[in-house]
C-alpha cells in the first residue's frame, strides 16, 4: 500500500491494474474479504483504493469528523493525482462518501456506481432506513449482511479481527449520530449530473432493496440493478455478477 499526503492527511492507497481510472471507496466491514473484488476490478480499470482515515488505525485530525470531510479529502485526491473521466465506485459507507463527493463536484467524474449506499435519509422519523446493526445479536447481523455466505469470525486472524474492531470504531466516529446519514443530503441529490447506477443485493437486510428503488426515484439519469442471491455485499457474495454489471457502461 502506497502512502500519499492529501490535505495534510497521510492516506494509505492501493493502486492496481491498467485501464480507465476508477476510484473505489470501500464499505464499513470486512476489508480483507474484498480483496478478490479489487483484483477483479484491476483487470478492467486502473483502480485507486484509499483506506479511509481511522479505518487504517491512524487517528484523523480533530477537525476531521464527518463524511463531508471524507468527500473533500477524496475530491482533493482526484485533483492532486489529476485524474479525469473517473468511474467513482462506492459500496455502502463508501457509497455515501461517493454521493457526498458527487453533490459537491462532478468535474472529474465519468459516472457514479453505488453498491447499496448509506447516507440518504428517506423514511420517516420512526423508520430505520439502515438497520441498527449495533443493537442486533451476531446471527441477525450476519443474516442482514449476507444472503448465503457464512462469515466465521473464528477463522479470522488477529490482524483481521483488529481490522474489524477499527472499522466498527470509525464507522461510529463518522456516523453514529445521525444514524448513518446526512440529514440534508437528500435535498441536494439533483446536483449529481453524471450517470448513476445503483446496484443492490436482492436479499440485502441492512439496506433493503425497496429503499434502493425509492432512492433511485430521487435521482436523475439513474439505472437500478439488483443482483439475486446477494445480501449487502454482492461484491463478496456474487463477484462475477457484480463485475459484469459494472462492465456495462452506466448511462448506456
Amino acid at each position: 500500500m502506497k502512502r500519499i499526503s492529501v490535505a495534510g492527511i497521510e492516506l494509505g492507497i492501493d493502486i492496481r491494474g491498467n485501464g480507465p481510472p476508477m476510484l473505489y471507496l470501500h464499505p464499513e466491514h470486512y476489508a480483507h474479504l474484498h480483496e478478490p473484488f479489487i483484483n477483479k476490478l484491476a483487470e478492467h480499470w486502473r483502480v485507486f483504493v484509499p483506506r479511509h482515515p481511522g479505518f487504517d488505525g491512524r487517528q484523523p485530525p480533530s477537525q476531521f469528523r464527518n463524511v463531508g470531510d471524507l468527500s473533500y479529502l477524496y475530491l482533493d485526491l482526484l485533483d492532486q493525482i489529476d485524474l479525469v473521466e473517473v468511474t467513482l465506485l462506492g459500496a455502502s459507507f463508501g457509497g455515501w462518501i461517493g454521493l457526498e463527493m458527487a453533490v459537491r463536484n462532478t468535474t472529474r467524474l465519468k459516472s457514479l456506481e453505488l453498491i447499496a449506499p448509506l447516507g440518504v435519509k428517506l423514511g420517516g422519523r420512526e423508520k430505520f432506513d439502515f438497520a441498527d446493526l449495533s443493537a442486533l445479536p451476531d446471527d441477525e447481523v450476519a443474516s442482514a449482511l449476507f444472503s448465503e455466505t457464512f462469515v466465521d469470525l473464528g477463522k479470522f486472524n488477529e490482524t483481521q479481527l483488529l481490522g474489524i474492531a477499527q472499522d466498527r470504531q470509525f464507522l461510529a466516529y463518522y456516523a453514529w449520530k445521525p444514524h448513518l446519514h446526512n440529514p440534508s443530503l437528500a435535498y441536494w441529490l439533483h446536483r449529481i449530473n453524471v450517470p448513476i447506477r445503483l446496484i443492490w443485493g436482492e436479499n440485502d437486510g441492512y439496506v433493503k432493496s425497496d429503499y434502493g428503488e425509492c432512492l433511485a426515484e430521487r435521482m436523475r439519469d439513474v439505472e437500478f440493478c439488483t443482483i439475486p442471491g446477494a445480501g449487502h455485499y454482492p461484491q463478496i457474495e456474487k463477484l462475477d455478477e457484480t463485475i459484469s454489471t459494472l462492465l456495462v457502461a452506466a448511462g448506456g
Binding site: 449495533s134 488477529e158 479481527l161 474492531a165 466498527r168 461510529a172 466516529y173
Partner: protein, 384 residues
C-alpha cells in the same frame, strides 16, 4: 474510614420474567408503577435512615434496565437533600459523556449543593457500555466528550462573573451563567469511578476521589497504586480519604445471618451480567485490541479468587464473593476483620461504599443490616 450506603433501587419483581436480558431490550410493560412506587419509597426510607445512623448516602443511575430504577441520579438526591440533615450525599454518578446538556448537569449539582447546605459530592462517570444506546451517545468519541463536559461543568460552577461562551467540539453555548452558585467553594468535591490503573491515574493526576467498583482483593491494589503514582508525578497528596471501594456488605448477629443478607444483596452482582452480548462492546468504547478478542470469544464475566481460581459472576456463591473481596459479610467482628484486611492489603482505604441494599433483601433485613453496621462496625472503622 467513612461509609456510604448505596442501592440501585432495583425493580427486582421483573427479573424472573425478563430472563437473561435485564438491560436495553426490556419492555416497560413488565413494570408495575404501583409496585414501583412502593419500592421507590422503601429505598428512600432506607437512605433517610442513614442520616440517623451516620452512614453517608450514595446514589447512581442506569437506563433502560430492571436492575436499577434510578434513571436520574439527581432525583432521589434532591429528595434526600431535603430529608436529611447531616450526612454527605454522593452522586456516583452522573454519566457526563452521555448527557448532551452539560450546563444542565452543573445546574442540578449546584441546586443540590445549596439545598443540602453544602453536603454534595459530585461523581463524574464514564458509564457502562450498554448505556450508550439509551443516550445515543457516540461511543467512539465518548472519552473526549467526557473530558470536555468535565471542563465545562467545573468552569460553569466556578465562574461567578458570567456569562461566558463555550464553543467546543461537543458542547456549544452562547451564554453560560449558572444560578445558583454552589454552596461549597470552589465547588463540591469531585469523584470518579475507576476500573483500571490507567483510569485511576487520570483521577490521581487531578487530585479527585476515586471509587473502584467491585474490583476485588486481587485487582484493587494495583488500581490504587496507579492513582498514587499519578498523584505523586503531579505533585499531589494522595491521602486515604481519596480512595473509595464499592463492596456488598451483609452484617448479622451471627455469621450465618450476615452471609444470608449478603447472599440476597449479591443478586445485584449476579444480575449485572444479564445483558444481551451485543451491548457489551459498543464500537470504540474499549480498546480495539480488547474488542477484537471479544468479537469471536465472548466468555462470561469471571471474578478471580485468591487461590488463582475464578468463578462466574452470574452464579457465584456468597463465600466465593467474600474470598474475592467483592463482599464483606458475617457478624460485626467478622465484617470488621474483613474490611480491615482489605484496607491493609490495598495500602489504605478511606471510603467504604457499601451496598447495604440490593437484589432480593427485604426492607426489614436492610434496616437491620444498616443498624448493625452503624452500631457495631462503623465506630471501629473510624480508627482505620
Amino acid at each position: 474510614m467513612k461509609a456510604w450506603h448505596f442501592s440501585e433501587m432495583a425493580y427486582h419483581p421483573a427479573w424472573e420474567e425478563l430472563g437473561d436480558s435485564l438491560r436495553n431490550l426490556v419492555p416497560s410493560s413488565v413494570y408495575d408503577p404501583k409496585v414501583g412506587a412502593d419500592l421507590y419509597h422503601r429505598y428512600l426510607d432506607e437512605w433517610a435512615l442513614c442520616d440517623e445512623l451516620g452512614i453517608n448516602i450514595m446514589v447512581n443511575e442506569h437506563h433502560t434496565t430492571a436492575t436499577c430504577a434510578t434513571s436520574v441520579c439527581t432525583i432521589p438526591m434532591a429528595i434526600l437533600a431535603r430529608e436529611t440533615r447531616k450526612v454527605r450525599l454522593l452522586c456516583l454518578g452522573m454519566p457526563i459523556a452521555n448527557r448532551m446538556d452539560a450546563v444542565r448537569v452543573a445546574e442540578e449539582y449546584a441546586m443540590l449543593d445549596v439545598i443540602s447546605r453544602g453536603r454534595l459530592e459530585m461523581g463524574f462517570v464514564k458509564g457502562a457500555p450498554f448505556e450508550v444506546w439509551p443516550a445515543n451517545s457516540n461511543p467512539a468519541t465518548l472519552m473526549e466528550r467526557f473530558w470536555e463536559a468535565h471542563d465545562l461543568i467545573l468552569k460553569a460552577l466556578t465562574t461567578h462573573d458570567g456569562p461566558f461562551n463555550w464553543e467546543g467540539e461537543h458542547f456549544h453555548y452562547r451564554q453560560v451563567n449558572v444560578w445558583p452558585r454552589p454552596y461549597q467553594s470552589p465547588h463540591p468535591p469531585v469523584w470518579m469511578t475507576v476500573m483500571s490503573p490507567g483510569s485511576a491515574a487520570e483521577a490521581g493526576s487531578r487530585g479527585y476521589s476515586i471509587a473502584s467498583l467491585n474490583t476485588g482483593y486481587l485487582r484493587t491494589q494495583e488500581i490504587f497504586e496507579g492513582y498514587r503514582k499519578a498523584a505523586a508525578d503531579a505533585g499531589r497528596e494522595a491521602p486515604k480519604e481519596r480512595f473509595g471501594y464499592l463492596a456488598i456488605v451483609g452484617v448479622g448477629d451471627t455469621n450465618e445471618e450476615g452471609k444470608r443478607r449478603a447472599d440476597q444483596i449479591l443478586d445485584y452482582s449476579r444480575t449485572t451480567p444479564r445483558a444481551a452480548s451485543q451491548f457489551w462492546f459498543p464500537p470504540g468504547y474499549t480498546s480495539n485490541e480488547i474488542t477484537a478478542q471479544m468479537l469471536y470469544n465472548r466468555g462470561p464475566n469471571m471474578i478471580p479468587l485468591r487461590n488463582g481460581g475464578e468463578f462466574k459472576m452470574q452464579f457465584g456463591t456468597v463465600d466465593e464473593f467474600i474470598d474475592a473481596g467483592v463482599a464483606f459479610a458475617g457478624n460485626p467482628d467478622t465484617v470488621f476483620e474483613q474490611i480491615k484486611e482489605f484496607h491493609q492489603h490495598v495500602g489504605g482505604l478511606g471510603q467504604l461504599l457499601m451496598m447495604g441494599q440490593g437484589g432480593h433483601i427485604s426492607h426489614h433485613d436492610t434496616v437491620s443490616n444498616l443498624q448493625l453496621f452503624s452500631k457495631e462496625v462503623l465506630p471501629r472503622l473510624a480508627d482505620l
